[in-house]
Structure formats: structure tokens, C-alpha cells
């Protein structure tokens, strides 16, 4: 045991008693943004703080206490994704059927091509309803597509990270992203742009 005073001069000493007050808000928001559920976020923060407490002797002081804790929290959140993804594995029906089948004929040509969205596109983003419809379309995706899409597009994980978190291959990921985008596009066309065109 080197003396505690020695250590405190060299590196910031972790002070778990103050964690809730100093980092609680920040960690909670970080978790809530990714897990989108107050209960899950509370749990993740608690687990991260406890894990941090257990590992506090390994804290090197290279990063700030907060960065270090957020790093632990991030791993807890990924663990959660991984676990819940395993518990609800591939919906086989979804995987087996090519969901773009109803879009294309047997020669791979459009049955009904995408409609013209017109000038509404850019202006649309200034309307609150646009974001609501987009959110609803996102929620309407099959579970696993929504998960992949959210990790990639909203949480901004790179391909490698998503593959690791969800244990899928890169090719698989691309296929799922394609399906998610095709569905979202169709949903937005049906629920936003078509009604826009009718009004116009």
C-alpha cells in the first residue's frame, strides 16, 4: 500500500460518495438518450456506479472521473443491448421473407415506383408533425430492424460497433439497414408526403 497522500498528489482520487451529485445528471441523460426508458436508465447508471466503485483501484487518472464513469456506463448499455437482442433473436419470418418482395416484380422492376415528394421535402423538416410522423414510422419498424437502425443512425455507432453489439456480420447489417430504409421511406411516403401532395 502506497500512502494515500502520495496518490492524491499524483492523480485525482475517486470520490464515490460525491458521484451521484457530480455525475448523476450527466450519466442519467447519457443513459436515457440511448435506452429511452427511465427505468432502464436508472438501472444502467446504478450498475455503472457500482462497477466503478468495484474497479476504482484500477482508475489511472488518465481521463477525468466523469469520462471514466461514462465509459463504464457505455459498456453497461451495450451489454443491455446485447442481452435483450439475444433474448429476442431473429424473427425468422422477417428474416426469411424478402420484405422488398412486394415492391418489385420477378424481374426486379418496381411494381409501383416511389412517388414524387416535390418541394415539400426541405420545408417539411420545419414542421413539428413531420418529426412526429418520422418517429412513428421508426417505431413501426420490426423490432430488430428498428434496433439496428437506431444504433446506426441515431446513436451514431459505426458499423463495427453495431456488429459487435448485436453479433451480426457486416453483410447482414447492410441488408437490415437496406430493409429499414426501404420501409421508412415507404412509411413516410404513405403517412406524410402523400397527404402533403393531396393538400397541395
Amino acid at each position: 500500500m502506497s500512502g494515500a497522500t502520495d496518490v492524491s498528489e499524483k492523480q485525482p482520487v475517486l470520490d464515490p460518495e460525491g458521484w451521484v451529485d457530480r455525475h448523476g445528471d450527466c450519466m442519467y441523460r447519457f443513459a436515457l438518450a440511448r435506452l429511452r426508458s427511465p427505468d432502464l436508465a436508472e438501472n444502467a447508471v446504478q450498475e455503472a456506479m457500482l462497477a466503478g466503485f468495484e474497479a476504482k483501484d484500477g482508475f489511472s487518472g488518465r481521463s477525468s472521473e466523469r469520462t471514466w464513469l461514462i465509459g463504464i456506463l457505455k459498456r453497461k448499455i451495450y451489454d443491455h443491448f446485447r442481452k435483450s437482442y439475444r433474448e429476442r433473436p431473429i424473427e425468422d419470418v422477417e428474416a426469411a421473407r424478402e420484405p422488398t418482395d412486394d415492391l418489385f416484380d420477378e424481374h426486379g422492376r418496381w411494381k409501383v415506383g416511389p412517388a414524387k415528394w416535390g418541394v415539400a421535402t426541405e420545408a417539411a423538416t420545419h414542421r413539428a408533425e413531420f418529426w412526429k410522423v418520422l418517429g412513428d414510422c421508426l417505431k413501426g419498424l420490426p423490432d430488430r430492424l428498428s434496433r439496428v437502425f437506431t444504433l446506426r443512425e441515431i446513436d451514431d455507432l459505426d458499423t463495427n460497433e453495431v456488429c459487435k453489439v448485436l453479433s451480426v456480420t457486416e453483410t447482414n447489417l447492410w441488408v437490415m439497414m437496406h430493409r429499414a430504409r426501404a420501409r421508412l421511406r415507404r412509411c413516410m411516403e404513405a403517412n406524410w408526403f402523400e397527404t402533403e401532395n393531396e393538400k397541395a
Binding site: T100, R109, P114, W117, G135, E153, I154, V175, M177
Partner: protein
């Protein structure tokens, strides 16, 4: 020659990584000639851009959120108990 099913798949894949040269050229040619796939590509990219704003909006909303005091108290108690063990 790519058909529309393949072209839309490649258009989306191009958002994930840089396509190999052959696919890139094939896609470009197809998009130049096919109005529907061209639309598809534009619209999917529009949604892709919109998702970035969507993410920002989510964060903005969350910025004002604070964990309730009862939750903070549960965390404190938890840490204290672990410390006492």
C-alpha cells in the same frame, strides 16, 4: 445491367460504406436512367439526413431532464451499502 431491386440495395449500401468501383459505376448508370430508383435514392438520403436532426432533437429534449431526487437517493444508498460491505 442492374435491376431496380439490386440498384436500391446498392444505393442503401453506399450509405454504409464505399462501394467497390464496379458497383459504384453500375449504380450510377442505373440512377441516371431510372427515374424511380433516382427518386428512391434521393428520398432515402433525405431521410438519412433527417435522422441526424432527429437525433439532435432527442438530445435537446433530454438536456432538460434531471433524475428525480428519489432516484438519486436510491443511487446514493446503493453506493453506500456497497461501500459498507
Amino acid at each position: 445491367m442492374l435491376n431496380c431491386r439490386e440498384a436500391t440495395r446498392l444505393a442503401d449500401e453506399a450509405l454504409e460504406h464505399r462501394l467497390p468501383l464496379g458497383s459504384r459505376i453500375g449504380l450510377k448508370l442505373h440512377l441516371m436512367m431510372c427515374r424511380y430508383c433516382n427518386r428512391y435514392n434521393t428520398q432515402v438520403r433525405f431521410i438519412h439526413e433527417a435522422m441526424k436532426r432527429y437525433a439532435e432533437k432527442e438530445i435537446e429534449e433530454i438536456n432538460g431532464v434531471r433524475p428525480p431526487e428519489a432516484m438519486r437517493e436510491r443511487w446514493r444508498r446503493c453506493l453506500k451499502e456497497r461501500g459498507a460491505e
